[in-house]
Symmetry: D2
């Protein structure tokens, strides 16, 4: 006989016959007195945000929602929609699966780097600028990329200035913003101009808001799903199934016989 499964435990949501609670708040109260961004914050932090926190989280979710159908996440969602019209979930999920350290997920690594830089500054009693310099030097030695700097498309990411200005106006710019600006400066001096990209910008402000590094990736997924659902809806509405065939050049062995 197998023993029965242990009951799972969770501190997020609960429900009974006539109620649903999220971190203790009745969902009907949240529906009338909070907004969706508040709820995202609540789900991940266990409390509702203040005005500044809400504004910043809003700006981040918008920043990553979509920038074109050709990004790996959007294109993977459209390919799934092209071959499989039975499940909207399948298409959206395919899009999410293309999100990783390389696409949309650098925020997590960047938050870990900020935490390391902040720790370095504290334990060695050095300035945040000196900590940033050391991290740039280490990256040069180990030939690793610095997360949060540089961008494939945008020479200067327009979203970074908005996030940093907003964080300052709300009085929430702290070590995260300071470290990333110092890092950009140090990289400029020691390597080449590598402007802060959107991953670096959101990592800085999420760090200052007290989020854990995991959230640097999760926030991209939450924001991008708004875009992915729209991309899938457009694919259904405007395109025939199986419209997509990627052209491929075969460069393998020529035709041959089985011995």
């Amino acid at each position: 006989m197998k023993k029965p499964m242990d009951t799972w435990r969770s501190a997020i949501a609960a429900s009974d016959d006539t109620h649903i609670w999220i971190h203790g708040y009745d969902v009907t109260d949240l529906m009338t007195r909070a907004d969706f961004t508040d709820t995202v914050f609540l789900l991940h932090r266990g409390r509702l945000p203040n005005v500044g926190e809400r504004r910043i989280l809003n700006a981040i979710l918008i920043a990553v929602a979509d920038h074109g159908a050709g990004a790996p996440s959007c294109a993977a969602a459209r390919l799934a929609a092209s071959g499989n019209r039975q499940s909207l979930s399948a298409a959206v999920a395919a899009g999410i699966l293309a999100i990783g350290d390389e696409h949309g997920g650098a925020g997590s690594a960047c938050m870990e780097m900020i935490a390391a830089g902040s720790e370095l500054s504290r334990t060695h009693s050095i300035s945040i600028e000196d900590a940033a310099r050391r991290i740039v030097e280490e990256a040069l030695v180990s030939k690793k990329r610095l997360p949060g700097l540089g961008h494939r498309v945008h020479s200067t990411d327009p979203r970074k200035a908005v996030l940093f200005t907003l964080a300052r106006r709300e009085g929430m710019a702290g070590k995260g913003v300071a470290f990333m600006e110092a890092l950009e400066q140090a990289a400029h001096e020691k390597i080449k101009p590598l402007p802060i990209n959107v991953d670096g910008a959101l990592a800085a402000v999420l760090y200052d808001l007290g989020f854990s590094p995991l959230f640097g990736k999760l926030v991209f997924i939450i924001g991008r799903v708004a875009g992915l659902t729209a991309e899938v809806a457009e694919e259904y509405a405007r395109e025939k199934a199986m419209r997509i065939h990627i052209p491929v050049t075969y460069d393998g062995v020529p035709p041959r016989e089985i011995d």
Copy 2:
């Protein structure tokens, strides 16, 4: 030689070296002057919502965000996180894959039924109440379930009253709300008490807001991803990998030899 792929087309988002636009709005304007719910609306409708539309969409997204770790979507996400700690995307995607007509997706079918009821009323010059009665009778004959009515957990879903009250207060309750209330009444008379559930409630108000039926499913995915990301983060933070083993009783053929 393969011919090159036709360029894809999209009317959603575009970018150049220093800009990103969503339906023509600069993303930096959206980040400072709109909120994430506005952006969800914009991505799916091509325009920004008015105050009432934003409030209603907010309430729907919150309503479906989470109601406990044991729902198929949340549990599938946790199982994936339990076996695969290399990819947050993989865990969130597994959760989304459990969303379908049976779990979270009934809103789409319900919106199609509302459209059919509305069309029946118009083409046969009958009241919306009579149209609802006919649809209940047809469901009885064909032994099909009526989408949007009845619930496994909640005898009276607390989220329905909030959505309908909000739609009325904002002056946006129309045929969708009227049809679903008539349907609930007709089902009560001809079958049994089958209160409007959250899928039926969100379908009614989304219909009145002019959304297409596909969005009845997509809105659940967008809202639920807030909860799924929190469930996955809690699994990572509180539980060891491979903690979950579902107890299974084998009821197949007994051990045997290969002939």
Copy 3:
């Protein structure tokens, strides 16, 4: 208090401290005395195949394994691998999500059509040829496509002749093969030349082997995962992350200001 979950039940596999059984056979016996295709058959049918059944299932699995990196399933897997190098599972899963009625999944619908044609022949005491003619006529009236006929790429699919020849040589060609040949003939007479494609061919022989329609889709997934894993491995080995950007032409509203 929540009540504990009911134990699940399954007739497929069981294990204890020193054994694993699949439908009663010890996995160590299967490992030494059966092959993987036998095991696929066993898992889905509850018994081991005879020689002819094994040969035919082998041929089908090989037929669908891969035909190029540009198909939606392979391309979606590569896009996920391009953005997310943390999880091979995520990339393979993205590829599987592109499999549906439109891509690789027509076998299921075709098996259902064969079953309907066979039932029509039996209940109306008409020949299988007449049943096929009626189904072609119905498709013409309802303007529906006939599953299993016609192909986007191959004017004559080379895999069909192999499967039908093999089924005949093994003495296993029955109503499935007869119906599909009659359907191809009837479509030629009443519509245009529409040769049996690989979905139609595998549906015919799987029907004759006694598989259920669901397996018409599942067999494609099992076979294709061999190709998807190879495509993902090649993407990892030969290509840099984020190499793929699909070119997209924006055809939406021009830049505008928020009112």
Copy 4:
């Protein structure tokens, strides 16, 4: 104007109007003269296997196909099938997403450890036994688990002996098998009895067959998809949608008011 996408390249499969080739072999030749396991080998290695290689790959694929519905991969697939009956692909994909380093994926890490041990033996001119001892000592110091040793369920995994016996009988046991046996011995001496598990066994023989570490994970996905498809088919056939509700105990903050 966006520039057109570069054509992708692939050395795996190609097709024209009447042919499909996999690594140069016509798929119709493979269908009649090879089996599916040959094709898996071909797709991943670019050549057909000899008899011994085929037998060993067969045994591995069978070994990992399924051992019960409660494993994370099988349970995630069933949860997705429970909430979403529109897409078999979605359910199978959800199952695959639960496969990672912790569940089914340890073969990759183990193959990397074998390669490191082999390199250590070569560069330091020490025996494979001494290399294994050093790696155990390093694991003790760094408090890391040794991949491929120990098991949650099976005290002695029955599949290991079958794989090693088969590799020896076929004359294909090499450094992989030798290293894993030395590692088991060294772990026994320095830590505690930690028998080689199925991941360790398949890693050893795949290493000796010349596969790359990535394949240690991919082979599990290929084999397990046979089981996942059967689990999903059984869920569809025997269970109602939404039958599964995992019991969860809420241990978060009690109900409270929004300030």
